[in-house]
Amino acid sequence: MTDTRHDYDALARLYLPIAAAVVLLVLLLVVAFAWRYRARPAQEGRPSRVSSAPRTEALYVLVLVAVAALLLWRTFTVEARTDRGVTGAGVQVDVTAAKWHWRFEYPRAGIVQRGTDEHPPTLVVPAGRPVDFSLRALDVIHAFWIPERRFKRDATPGYTSRFSLVFPRAGFWRDGGECSEFCGLRHAWMRFHVRVLPPDAFARWVRARRSGAAA
């Protein structure tokens, strides 16, 4: 199980400089050529008649193929590591999305986190340990997005999606989770908070919630 934010940001650090370099190169060449080869009055000579360079272009295509291969290799490596499926060893959280609320159920502990229209629920997870999610939707397609984890997965009615995430840092993220698939009127307000607790604090939270539920 890996840290999605860490892995995906590392991948982005490969893509971003390449993208930026390509854009800057295009900008530079466009401006340079437009200046260098601008038409001047009383100009000597004619524009070049050369209109093909098969060998150069073939070599250039090889470079493009190499870039595509590099990007795909890194992408596939990262994806193989993070999409390995559920660990089965972590804290189990069943997520249910329905217009326009999230519900988090911890089946082993018998805890359910619900919200109201005014107060979204809080997803509480332990820091540094895998969390095995099982995600489903009751009515239309929603999507479970935690921007801080750089991770998103669709919740499709009739289909249960399973994945594991790790939350390395303890903390509280207000509105740290969102629905990102348009799902109707209150889509903009379909949120949840994320609270990541150190493992012992998480255990205490589970005990407190259980006794609270029993009382």
Partner: protein, 540 residues
């Protein structure tokens, strides 16, 4: 110099008045009418975008209701794709292809005429939803099932919308068939497929994609209408995934359908204003065909987060697109190399296209990587990405085409001074509107929300974007002013004001009813007029 006779085809004399305009089978009247219709929808959808940007300029709801906002983004996206970008790309083909290949007519012109009416009818049907009690469609331009089914979206406006999409899609298929048939059967003597002008090749691949992709849209929408009325079509998760497959099998190629013809216009402009023929013609044609073929196999990248597709396959095909796209950039820059460059307005827009589309294209490769796409899909990052391809690419290319061919179509000149104002306002407004959206999306703002939390960087970024949209509106007003000015002054353009390279510049502006009256220049390459110019220089 040898010459061949202009093709002799009997054509009906033009009729006048409104009936004459709406019933003309002259491909020029038809192309111009369809073009004007699509441009009117561009302005209308642009107004919807301005309303949305006004709402988003500050957090909370000021101008719109939640439901009103949903109607606006649905009609904005749908109008832009179905009623503006696709018809206007095909309209350019209807007008220009016969002229570029030295033909007197469009093949199956009455079918194309019916398609124009269907586009108008489809557009009005879609927009009539605003007059119904529950408003226009509110399900987004891709109308995912089950959200678009009756229980979630019972408004009759959504049914109107589906019928409108069906009409517009059928019209697109008919128009693509006409343009493609014209290219296949009506070429002047000597014009082999490998002497087809660059713009015509881009129309070939666009039409092929329309003919292969749009039927899937008709199926998706027809079934959606049946599902809404009678049920029993889509069900369970399989129904949800099937709908997405059908939709994106159309929905991805369509973005290239509305891109390639404008790439063709940009290529013609760069060649013309560099005083050189287009560089690397054959690799370019191969890359277009490869691009079109690959584009039919990338649709699943819209579904990376569904768990229902093989992500690596679609990542492979989508990333591979950088190869043909890279070839096209190489050819564009190599055409400028050692040219004699005139920075007239069409060239400015063509160069703007190259720079802005580079941003859209590289971020496209970014979202072709599933782990990177997980974060940014359905966020403002993706909104920024596709507006750099559709506005930075297609719309910049559209204005390249308009400034390039305006003298040919109207016989009058547009103001270069106003054209430069239009260009720079567009460049600044475009970047100010869409660049902040990359940061918003990366920072977690989902698309299709009318409201966001106050007191964050989101307020500043949204305000910047909204300010940019006002500049874009101003740029379009400058353009409309330029059109009005040209209409009034009627400065004669002459047959070939730019030093064009293809056959349309060898006839009057505007061209006569039968397109060419005298003999056509001999066609020995894809740039016959450039051949003549170079031969004259050689003998001088």
């Amino acid at each position: 110099m040898t010459a061949v006779d202009a093709p002799r085809t009997r054509v009906a004399p033009p009729r006048r008045g409104l009936v004459g305009t709406l019933a003309s089978t002259d491909h020029k009247a038809l192309g111009a009418g369809l073009f004007a219709t699509a441009f009117a929808f561009f302005l209308a959808a642009g107004v919807l975008a301005l309303l949305m940007r006004f709402e988003l300029a500050r957090p909370h709801l000021q101008l719109l209701t939640l439901h009103g906002y949903d109607e606006l983004f649905t009609l904005h996206g749908s109008t832009m794709f179905y009623l503006f970008a696709t018809p206007i790309a095909l309209a350019a083909g209807v007008y220009l292809v016969p002229l570029q290949i030295g033909a007197a007519r469009l093949r199956w012109a009455r079918l194309a005429l019916a398609a124009w009416w269907m586009t108008i009818g489809g557009g009005l049907t879609m927009w009539l939803g605003f007059l119904t009690e529950q408003g226009a469609a509110d399900v987004g331009w891709y109308a995912y099932w089950p959200l678009s089914d009756m229980p979630s979206s019972p408004s009759v406006g959504t049914d109107y919308w589906i019928v409108g999409v069906l009409l517009a899609a059928a019209a697109a298929i008919a128009l693509a068939a006409c343009v493609l048939a014209t290219i296949v059967t009506e070429r002047a003597p000597g014009m082999t497929m490998l002497r087809l002008p660059v713009f015509c090749w881009t129309m070939v691949v666009s039409c092929l994609m329309v003919l292969t992709a749009f039927p899937a849209l008709i199926v998706a929408m027809g079934l959606l209408l049946a599902q809404r009325q009678w049920g029993g079509v889509y069900s369970g998760s399989a129904g949800a995934f099937d709908y997405q497959h059908l939709f994106w099998f159309f929905g991805h190629p369509v973005v290239y359908v509305v891109f390639f013809p404008f790439l063709g216009a940009v290529a013609e402009a760069i060649a013309t204003f560099s005083g050189r023929r287009w560089f690397g013609y054959k690799p370019f044609v191969v890359s277009l065909l490869l691009f079109a073929a690959l584009s039919m196999s990338v649709w699943g990248h819209h579904m990376f987060t569904t768990s229902a597709v093989e992500n690596r396959y679609f990542s492979l095909t989508s990333t591979a697109l950088l190869v043909p796209a890279g070839v096209e950039y190489f050819d564009a820059l190599a055409t400028m190399w050692r040219g004699r460059i005139r920075l007239a307005t069409p060239m400015l827009f063509a160069l703007g296209f190259l720079v802005l589309f580079a941003i859209g294209g590289t971020t496209g490769i970014w979202v072709a990587s599933p782990p990177l796409d997980y974060h940014v899909t359905d966020s403002y990052f993706v909104v920024a990405h596709f507006h750099y391809t559709l506005f930075g690419g297609s719309v910049m290319g559209l204005f390249t085409a308009i400034y390039l061919w305006w003298p040919k179509v109207t016989g009058t000149l547009l103001s270069e001074r106003l054209g430069r104002w239009h260009f720079w306002l567009t460049m600044i407004g475009m970047n100010l509107t869409f660049f902040p959206l990359f940061f918003l999306g990366w920072d977690g703002m989902p698309r299709r929300v009318a409201d966001y939390a106050p007191g964050t960087s989101w307020s500043t970024l949204n305000a910047l974007s909204s300010a940019g949209s006002a500049l874009l509106a101003a740029s379009v007003l400058v353009f409309l002013w330029n059109v009005r000015r040209s209409w009034r002054r009627r400065a004669p353009a002459g047959p070939d004001p730019w030093g064009g390279q293809t056959l349309e510049w060898a006839t009057d502006s505007p061209p006569p009813r039968e397109n060419f009256t005298g003999a056509l220049p001999a066609v020995r390459s894809f740039a016959p007029l450039q051949d003549l110019r170079e031969a004259a220089e050689a003998s001088a």
